[in-house]
Symmetry: C2
Subunit: 370 residues, 2 copies
Amino acid sequence: MKTIHTIGILGGGQLGMMLAQAALKLGLRCVFLEDAPNAPASLYGQVYTTSELDDFIKASDVFTLEFENTPVATAERLANLDDKGGMFPPAKALSVAQDRLAEKALFNELGVTTVPYQAVNTLDELHNACDTLGLPLVLKTSRGGYDGKGQFVIKTTDDIAQAWAELGGAITGGAMPAPLIAEGFINFSREVSIIAVRSQSGNIRYYPLVENHHQNGILAKTIAPAQGVENLNQSAQESIAKILENLNYVGVLTLELFVTDNGLIANEIAPRVHNSGHWSIEGANCSQFENHIRAVAGLPLGDTSIVKPSVMLNIIGKYPDENQLLSIGGAHYHHYHKSERDGRKIGHITVMADDLATAVASAQQTLNNC
Amino acid sequence: MKTIHTIGILGGGQLGMMLAQAALKLGLRCVFLEDAPNAPASLYGQVYTTSELDDFIKASDVFTLEFENTPVATAERLANLDDKGGMFPPAKALSVAQDRLAEKALFNELGVTTVPYQAVNTLDELHNACDTLGLPLVLKTSRGGYDGKGQFVIKTTDDIAQAWAELGGAITGGAMPAPLIAEGFINFSREVSIIAVRSQSGNIRYYPLVENHHQNGILAKTIAPAQGVENLNQSAQESIAKILENLNYVGVLTLELFVTDNGLIANEIAPRVHNSGHWSIEGANCSQFENHIRAVAGLPLGDTSIVKPSVMLNIIGKYPDENQLLSIGGAHYHHYHKSERDGRKIGHITVMADDLATAVASAQQTLNNC
């Protein structure tokens, strides 16, 4: 097996930055493929633009990604380089995660429960989906779209025309033309996610289910572990294990789920470290970032158990008053060195506490004060 | 007050590296003054050689150090730059820490108990010290010397000639000519240290006393918190507070102490983050590195309380088998990116556990296996 010194990461945002923080502690180095100037990861290793792909490849011993919209062809090319240590996760995981229809099809093939759904290629098919699935439903682009973008909630038949006007163009136009997907509406009490990591030898470790709260379609808060759903951990682990094994996945995978009266319903996967795992830097014995690096570098996996209950709050758009923020005990501040912009994730804080109620209250206080 | 973006650190070793790890998370940047090529800190910021001091100054908003043998004149020059945010710790702390006689004199002036000692400028004075203090005693250079170097234990009067032959030359020769110091021998049960941090507004926070174990004069293991000495924390805090306040100190200061039947005896200070505080990266709510950066940058101090009991083991000379090391649960590995060399600190691991006996046993197992 190839000795790994340098990990080539596709993407150089804050996820790449936190991967590098973990890699450097283990004696490894990282380089990044990223076109944005002053990307957060540039503080931790050499950045190559996509026009410098050959130099990026030369500098790397093994490859991974932090950007799930990495072209599948690029991942395949890197995976097939004989003199390198491989590309993790595999290209197939990327192609599944980039296509909501393929993703739902895989879930169903593996017996992982999803909402009912239908592909929509024409306005007629949209009308048909509204009849079959019932209203309300959510119409989404099957490719692209993140943080709530590329979605439309159809509440009554009067909304169909507008939904079609907004999203129908994505079927034949845009960067990645593809059908729409209509998803039946479900009543859920909570959004949770499970993060797991699989090693090159096939070992799997699981972080506990965590609870996610969104604002304007963007993750605002994660509570780790999720409260009152301990009995659902086994089901979540079984689902993500099936997906990991089917894809022969190596590295960290995230599965987003809804909690319903009838158990968990799978929403989507992210084939990478995930915002809902940032709490693990302090809150778990081995963070999602370190475990991903360990898996990619062929090292043994680390302990995913919780050190203390934690709450993670994203800093979105504007930096808080640091004097106030840092006055609050137990707040771990992660500044992404990004400029302020509406709706942009530019940092996060994690607050740990012996009891979670205290942690959440303390974190709320943090947000309110700054 | 000057807004701090970039901290200029004198020295670029592993302490500088770990300071930078903390600074970057807070949204700050670091630059380093360091002549050694490929220094560990170079992974985290620009390195300037001493011949590039002016550029280093230009790049920095405020100054600190990780290398306690920094020339006092340099520290004074940086402290007096009108357009910069200051030099922390103050130059006086450096001059005291670099001179065992000045250090012991300050301790005694402040009522901090030391061993009995005498300055030695001549062979006659050495004979006189042996008579006055009794044998055995430890003869040391008052300047230079670290990790057990520059010391001679005089057990009988027969050793005096050899001790003089080995160390007497330092009085008038070498890079820093200075008297020797003869220190009376004491019976101690344990070596401990206390780390405290003082902010620019004069707030002080204390880490708990930790227990240090040396091998061949080099720190091998730190147990945090020190066991069975909880009643000594107050005395240690009072001692280090007096020193911090006398020196108008800002940043992290370490005080090494001996535990005797009659309480604590002060050995020496280190005017910087310290190897006996590495456990705090994972084991304390806010690490010594982050607290030092907070103090230097004028930010509020962080919570010094313990998350879980920890043991820190230095990796000295040779890297362990990483596959074995990382298989042990709860081991946090810190690789310094330094080449292997006998007696050189090239990494450390910290193991946390709910009970310390388990942590120590697990850490010992780690060492034995790799």
